[in-house]
């Protein structure tokens, strides 16, 4: 938990500052929207953090969301597929894509950046070609399914906020985060991922099937991205094949990095990633509410992330120095 204090502090500072600057920020409608966006980003951030922990990367997440997001309504509405068939198809597709990524990376030793960059191009092209580039949607059907993305659970009136409803995606994200955190910290498989992300060779020499674990990480990442794609599609209901999900891989990666994952691998905290994912829509919301020019949006987000990463690095160096001094003391004292 200690290592997440920095990101949590950043989140609280932006949150409180915005709340003071514009009272509209804490109204129920705004907060509900914010939580829903943050939860959706959190889901894909959790997925990619598993891959980043292996010192890999997945740049294809945005295009996967685009492909899954167009394919589901396309199958259900245009082709009249059953809900079961439609969901099975997109889940199987997501898992297969992850499997292919993993096998190319472990068997052919291709670089994750290259493999998933090609994926980014391929899946976007497939989505546009499949649908003839026409907008997809659920056309007023599947309301019970859409509940997963746009549903709200009334919590009654909260002080200072008003009538508040908890968005359902928050529950989904929380559930996923708990499972992922247990997987990463309490099972031998999570330990395998952390160890091989730091030193693949030492992990292999310790009897860990490193290739299989890397493939697993990519499959999980793609499955989660596919799940995210379904939710984003249910949420938006107006899916443009040419740009739906564009840049989302970068949001997911930024969330993971803000949350303490090192791109060098072997390090990451699910709680941190969840907060990191929340910071992105929070910043966007703040920029709007504080009346800053929205054209500056990307620049501001970029500067804040950079500042966060710099502070994190400085703190880490200080901690490392302290530890080294402690070890030196111990060695000379005994």
């Amino acid at each position: 938990m200690k290592k997440n204090l920095g990101i949590l502090g950043l989140f609280l500072v932006v949150f409180i500052a915005t709340a003071f600057a514009n009272p509209d920020f804490v109204n129920a409608y705004n907060l509900e929207n914010l939580i829903r966006r943050a939860s959706l980003y959190g889901i894909i951030g959790i997925g990619v953090s598993l891959v980043i922990i292996t010192s890999g990367i997945d740049l294809s997440i945005g295009s996967m969301i685009g492909l899954v997001g167009t394919m589901l309504p396309y199958l259900l509405i245009e082709h009249g597929a059953s809900l079961f068939t439609g969901l099975l198809a997109v889940v199987a597709l997501s898992a297969s894509i992850g499997l292919i990524h993993g096998l190319l990376i472990t068997r052919l030793k291709l670089q994750p950046f290259v493999v998933t960059l090609c994926g980014l191009l391929i899946y976007r092209g497939c989505a546009r070609w499949m649908t003839g580039d026409s907008v997809q949607g659920f056309k007023g059907n599947y309301d019970s399914l859409r509940y997963l993305a746009i549903g709200k659970i009334p919590l009654g009136t909260l002080p200072g906020i008003g009538e508040f409803n908890l968005p359902v995606p928050f529950l989904l994200m929380t559930g996923l985060a708990i499972v992922a955190a247990i997987f990463l910290n309490k099972t031998i498989y999570g330990r395998y991922l952390l160890a091989l992300g730091r030193n693949e060779q030492a992990a292999r020499y310790s009897g860990i099937n490193t290739d299989r674990m890397v493939v697993l990480a990519y499959v999980l990442c793609s499955l989660v991205a596919g799940f995210g794609g379904i939710l984003f599609a249910l949420d938006s209901n107006s899916i443009q094949p040419d740009n739906f999900g564009s840049f989302y891989e970068l949001y997911a990666i930024a969330a993971a990095v803000l949350g303490g994952c090192s791109l060098r691998g072997g390090q990451g905290s699910i709680f941190g990633v969840v907060i990191g994912a929340a910071i992105l829509p929070l910043l966007r919301n703040s920029i709007n509410l504080l009346g800053m020019p929205t054209t500056l949006e990307f620049a501001i987000i970029g500067v804040v992330i950079l500042a966060g990463v710099i502070v994190d690095e400085v703190v880490k160096r200080m901690a490392a120095k302290r530890r080294a001094a402690l070890a030196a003391k111990q060695a000379s004292g005994s």
């Binding site: 031998i188 030193n199 030492a202 310790s206 060695a331 000379s332």
Partner: protein
């Protein structure tokens, strides 16, 4: 003032250097004469590297003086060290191996003509410098195509290119083959005869005996003693380094070997497909594998442990044939490997002592659904820290902050927690200090006594002679001889290691 022959070339006077929480050097003195090879020895943490960094301008002392030709000088940057003729050759070579030899020699000081690099001049000057270090390669050769020993000579040529009068060499032979080391010794002696002085840091006392005119010993950041040419012998050096008498350096007891624990029949490794390997180790027996670098010893251990698959042949553990295609198979069969490069292959350096000790046992100790068995991991770690006397503030200490000897003990702890039948050790004491070495030898004895079969590869003759019950000697991928305790001698090993095999004993 004319320079009298008594004025030392370089003098370190009363130098002290501290880091947060530790005094690295306390009032140390050192003198280096003209045309002299001075060996600086001491255990890890004795302060050798700190002093070398001070001389090379990487760090500045807190107090004390540096004198060159009797005059006090300030060396506050690497450039200043160069200007005073002091150059450091790092243990890990500092070459850009994607560039050619000439470019490396003149890196950062390229001669220019019309604003562009004067390649012709680089080539010409490089040839002279390469000739001085006895290296016969073209300046246009890309460095990574050269064997490691020749790369080192390139680095020495670079030092000479700044007119270095003092060459500091930090563990220069640690990754060289015996033949390459011989070449290096020749170059060092040759430089000495041409007026260059050398400070030679090494853990290998045999080399020190061969090269040094004088020896200075550091212990715990202080001067522990100096030895003149006629006083340089193994026991005196070790005694000064560890500060106690070490007549019992190797703690051999007679072993009573049991059944055959590991038997290898007609094993063919991918590195040496032309040779079949046959040998056996009994439980309770320590078998050494001697040979020159490149003889195929590491490759053999790696095949036994499943890092590389065998081409053909069979492996039996406790009389049962086992198939070993991955380290997982090897571990399941009861084998363990302490690899040659502990930082790359043995440890996850950024992780805690506890995590590293537990790494190999994760699968064996797991609970239902793959949950970690934390209590078991904690108990194993506590046991190993006390059994192996790992010096660490606590079990959560990150391994990279431990000394080399303690890191090696963490690797050993990882495997001993699995209680293997056969322990494979690849250069188990490489780069660790004398005290930790002795502890590892004790441990090997203890494990053999408890019935473990131990196969260890070593490039240190004294270790082979001191520790092994039997010795296998390898040369160019084949086993050229098996020596019993009675047949074992330095000469017998060297004969076999260089391929000088008596007719009747060809395996």
């Amino acid at each position: 003032m004319t320079e009298s022959p008594q004025t030392p070339l370089l003098e370190v006077r009363d130098v002290t250097k501290g880091f947060p929480g530790v005094i690295a050097l306390s009032h140390v003195n050192l003198t280096l004469g003209h045309s002299e090879v001075l060996a600086l020895i001491g255990e890890n943490g004795a302060g050798k590297s700190t002093l070398m960094k001070i001389l090379a301008g990487v760090q500045e002392p807190d107090s004390g003086q540096l004198l060159i030709d009797g005059k006090p000088v300030r060396i506050d940057s690497v450039q200043a060290a160069f200007d005073h003729g002091v150059a450091l050759i790092h243990q890990e070579l500092n070459l850009s191996d994607n560039l050619d030899v000439g470019a490396n020699i003149f890196l950062g000081r390229e001669p220019k003509k019309n604003g562009l690099i004067d390649k012709a001049k680089i080539r010409e000057d490089s040839r002279d410098l390469l000739a001085r270090v006895g290296l016969n390669v073209s300046p246009d050769t890309i460095v990574e195509r050269l064997p490691i020993g020749q790369q080192q000579l390139v680095e020495i040529a670079r030092a000479l290119s700044v007119n270095a009068r003092v060459l500091i060499m930090d563990e220069p032979t640690s990754s060289l083959s015996a033949h390459e080391a011989e070449t290096l010794f020749k170059v060092v002696k040759d430089l000495r005869s041409k007026g260059v002085s050398v400070i030679y840091i090494s853990h290998r006392l045999g080399e020190v005996k061969e090269l040094a005119d004088r020896v200075t010993v550091f212990r715990d950041g202080e001067n522990a003693g100096d030895l003149g040419l006629d006083e340089i012998n193994h026991d005196r050096m070790v005694q000064l380094m560890v500060g106690r008498d070490v007549s019992q350096f190797y703690v051999r007891k007679p072993h009573s070997p049991g059944e055959v624990a590991l038997e290898v029949k007609d094993l063919v490794t991918p590195a040496n497909p032309g040779h079949k390997l046959n040998f056996a180790i009994r439980s309770g027996e320590i078998v050494g594998v001697a040979g020159l670098v490149g003889a195929g010893r590491t490759e053999t251990l790696q095949v036994l442990f499943g890092v590389e698959p065998a081409v053909s042949g069979s492996i039996e553990v406790d009389g049962k044939a086992v198939r070993i295609n991955t380290p997982i198979d090897a571990i399941d069969a009861g084998l363990a490997l302490v690899p040659e490069d502990r930082k790359l292959q043995g440890l996850v350096l950024e992780m805690a002592v506890r995590t590293n000790v537990g790494l190999a046992g994760l699968k064996r100790n797991q609970k239902k659904l793959g949950f970690l068995n934390s209590p078991q991991e904690g108990a194993d770690t506590t046991e190993m820290i006390s059994k192996l006397r790992i010096k660490t503030p606590n079990e959560q200490q990150v391994v990279q902050y431990l000394s080399g000897g303690n890191q090696q003990k963490v690797v050993l702890g990882k495997w001993l927690s699995l209680n293997p039948k056969v322990l494979l050790l690849d250069e188990p004491t490489r780069g660790i200090d004398v005290g930790a070495k002795q502890e590892i030898y004790r441990l090997m004895e203890e494990l053999a006594e408890q019935g473990m079969a131990i196969l260890f590869v070593s490039s240190e003759m004294e270790e082979i002679l001191g520790m092994s019950d039997h010795t296998l000697v390898m040369h160019e991928g084949r086993i050229t001889g098996k020596l019993s305790r009675e047949e074992l001698s330095e000469e017998a090993v060297m004969q076999l290691a260089t391929g000088n095999v008596p007719q009747e004993s060809v395996a």
